[in-house]
Symmetry: C3
Subunit: 199 residues, 3 copies
């Protein structure tokens, strides 16, 4: 139940982020829906593919699908409302989505009996894969490969779940909140991973 | 039989559209073939993936594969012929492909017993997915997310098939022709979906 | 055993090429790892998908995975070392990877009982698919669709394996070395496939 609420918040946050990128790129209404749905569901689809779950399991998420479409419709019709709240809540929503999706992906991969490397990749892809596909379809260089730590926190969730460092409802709740806090901190304090520019 | 002819026309039209984009981007002969094949078969591959059919079912389309390669070879050797006819017939061919592929995709998803949302997405991806992959591989922003209504008509076909509004040979023929006409009208009359540019 | 060594060299070469593109695009450490892993393992993942092998078979390559991460870490920490050797060995390593991966992909597809067209595509995707995904994720137009012959040699390997022109350890070794030599020659002698630029 708690889990469903988190997935819901993550789905909505990701759908909105896709819709906003589509509006920024001057896509039409259909492009807004498509980019939003790709962002919200693309990560899970790629993860299912890579860990051996049927991709068509997507279609069991029918109600999330409908909610995402409704939220994007509201965002399209009343963009001002969205923007007033978006600036304030975007980061938090997105962090919630990242955390919920990463933990969920790691749990799926663990249940499938995959090794640690697969669990980490499943966490990373579920959390960040949708955003990558969104950026590619928008003709952008994927931001999450460049800016503040993003995928890193998803992978951390994968490590914690994969090594069974935290488990059970309480353990996972602690992990869930920790990832959100770490993500928020990394943005506000501008933590960066090292980089090496070569030309 | 009729169905095979339509799929054939769609395959040829999509292969040619990919080949032309490749030539516009100064790709070599291999790039022309690859972009053409991706445009013609990519949508079906993604659809199979998402609705739970084996992607490797692609390989049963061997004869379409060969025809696509022959047509692209002719286009590459005699580009002037292509262009004289392309301007006239491109839109019609492409609309035929869009319509045939969208209905085919919707029928596949229906046979698999998927819900309406999956049927609509299957129609959209089969009709428009190849063109999206083509644009991404050509380093372009996917046009069909921006310009006149395109995916919308594919989705309409999905709705009609999914709700069983039209069925049987006659019903599907009506649907097939309607989607072609709607697509042609939307180009010639410059119908647009609403858009909201934010910066 | 020989085979594993070749796959290893190919994996390392491809991981390094992805890491270098990521550094050129100013991606951070995580982006470097991701782009390297996508380049090294993406082609095999797409091939598995298209020929009907489980994509999750990827996870049985755990040790290659770890080696790729170690090599990329060294490259990131000591970029000068990498660059001194990269200029000299890049082309050769990459040609080894292309050849080993293309033959391996063709053999997989043959074992699955697929027709010749599928064997050629499997060879092409295993050899060149990772590089294509790398370029798309880096926001670049895929180079291998434009420059000297690259995919063509992978497809040649597919034809030779598919038609059973060379087989057995000795036959495949001859093919393996031939593809490497052809690739090196095509770069040094600047062989080009025909192209037709239209505007």
């Amino acid at each position: 139940m708690i889990w469903d609420i988190l997935t819901l918040i993550g789905t909505v946050a990701f759908a909105l982020s896709g819709a906003i990128v589509a509006m920024e790129e001057d896509y039409d209404l259909m492009g807004v829906y498509i980019l939003g749905l790709v962002t919200a569901f693309g990560g899970g689809a790629i993860r299912n593919l890579l860990i051996g779950l049927p991709v068509s399991a997507l279609w069991e998420q029918g109600s999330f699908f409908i909610i995402a479409v409704i939220v994007m419709s509201i965002a399209f019709i009343f963009p001002t409302i969205l923007f007033n709240h978006w600036v304030k809540f975007h980061l938090l929503f997105d962090a919630i989505g990242l955390s919920a999706f990463a933990i969920q992906g790691a749990l799926y991969a663990t249940e499938m009996g995959h090794p640690l490397s697969a669990i980490i990749v499943a966490a990373a892809l579920t959390g960040a894969g949708g955003g990558m596909v969104r950026d590619v379809l928008a003709g952008r260089k994927p931001l999450i490969l460049q800016k503040e730590i993003y995928i890193g926190w998803a992978m951390l969730a994968g490590v914690v779940v994969g090594l069974d460092l935290l488990s059970g409802p309480i353990g996972l709740t602690i992990l869930f909140i920790s990832v959100i806090i770490l993500r928020m901190l990394s943005v506000h304090l501008q933590w960066q991973l090292p980089r090496r520019k070569i030309t």
